[in-house]
Symmetry: C2
Subunit: 225 residues, 2 copies
């Protein structure tokens, strides 16, 4: 487990906040980053109420990433590029950026069951292009329901699909995923596979709408792991 804090940029949003709760519960010190430092602090306070044993801090984005070995980027696609531009001076070599962004068509007032094309192929590849030299990007956390993460009474039982170009980086993210009870990491291959995994969010949204559920994904055939 990382002893240095994990930063969640966009931790005031539904997915980021859910991840903050679950990781905090697992004993990972969490820094919540937001464009607005007050909102970040507010979210950290709220997280502490839900998980009193956790360690939560709230900071403005550039400050928030400073001491984190792992930075989870969990912002709407609409804000991903701007956020990365603003983090350029703050992110440094050897930091791992875990991108959870999904290019839903909702970003351009389209449907949440559709995506828009990203020039680089995926939001994760856009993040890799925009990240400062030495910062490596891993793609993860697209298929876990934000609502179920935040509902600490709900027993999770699903997979987190991970894409990235270096095995060591994916192993560090896998360790983080493993720390959350009920989540299992699955290595899906190089970062370019994020083109596919990011599409699973609109698929799950469509399944949710049809079946009135909060679906997730599990890969069969992997054994008990």
């Amino acid at each position: 487990m990382p002893e240095s804090p994990v930063c969640i940029v966009g931790g005031t949003g539904a997915l980021g906040f859910g991840l903050a709760l679950r990781l905090g519960l697992a004993g990972v010190p969490i820094v919540i980053g937001s464009r607005d430092g007050h909102r970040a602090q507010e979210a950290a306070d709220r997280a502490s109420e839900h998980v009193p044993e956790g360690s939560f801090t709230g900071l403005e984005n550039p400050e928030s990433v400073r001491d984190a070995e792992i930075v989870i980027l969990s912002v709407p696609f609409r804000n991903q590029s701007e956020t990365l531009t603003n983090l350029k001076g703050a992110l440094g070599a050897e930091q791992l950026l875990v991108d959870a962004t999904v290019p839903l068509a909702a970003a351009v007032s389209g449907k949440a069951t559709r995506t828009i094309g990203v020039w680089q192929g995926s939001a994760a590849q856009q993040a890799q292009e925009m990240a400062p030299d030495g910062v490596r990007v891993v793609s993860a956390f697209h298929t876990v329901s934000a609502a179920l993460l935040s509902d600490l009474d709900h027993e999770l039982d699903e997979d987190v699909l991970i894409c990235g170009d270096r095995r060591e980086d994916k192993a560090r993210v896998a360790e983080l995923v493993d720390a959350i009870t009920g989540l299992r990491p699955v290595d899906c291959g190089p970062l370019e596979l994020a083109r596919i995994v990011e599409q699973l969010t609109p698929l799950i949204i469509s399944i949710n709408v049809r079946n009135k559920v909060r679906a997730g994904i599990k890969i069969t055939g992997l054994g008990s792991h």
Copy 2:
């Protein structure tokens, strides 16, 4: 259960043959279609050896579809358009075409972990555009391992993701899926969602390569169904 035969165009291929075995085992009369009538008959004979209680016939493609209410199209993407052109005079209104085609980049000597762009958005939508008037297309069977389907000693336990524009059509395909022990149908929404579901084949191929397994997909949160 359909009493009229289900036709599997491309039933001599690995996925089509696996589906033939499993559906045959479930008591569905199967017609295997191929460009080559002899190869179709050969595959039907082989299927009968594996599943002696099943009913298997082998015919050339245009003949094979004649009496089937449901026609499963299980051909390499490279051949999908040509096959549909050749079936134009044979397919008739009220027939249901279940497209299992995946636009793997392997079709143009690329990788099986990548896809190529289809102008209509997906292979299923290309099938819908090319099918004669009145023939409806449902997209399914992209994530089930051909090898595991053919290995009748293997207990299946995974989902089949179904996309289509009409609920009744999807319900008929769901009934077919349900007939195969260990497979569960999941309604994923309209046919355009095939753009996403078809991408799951290269994702699974990538997971298989990384993890040396034969993976499949399960949707969590749906209950026991």
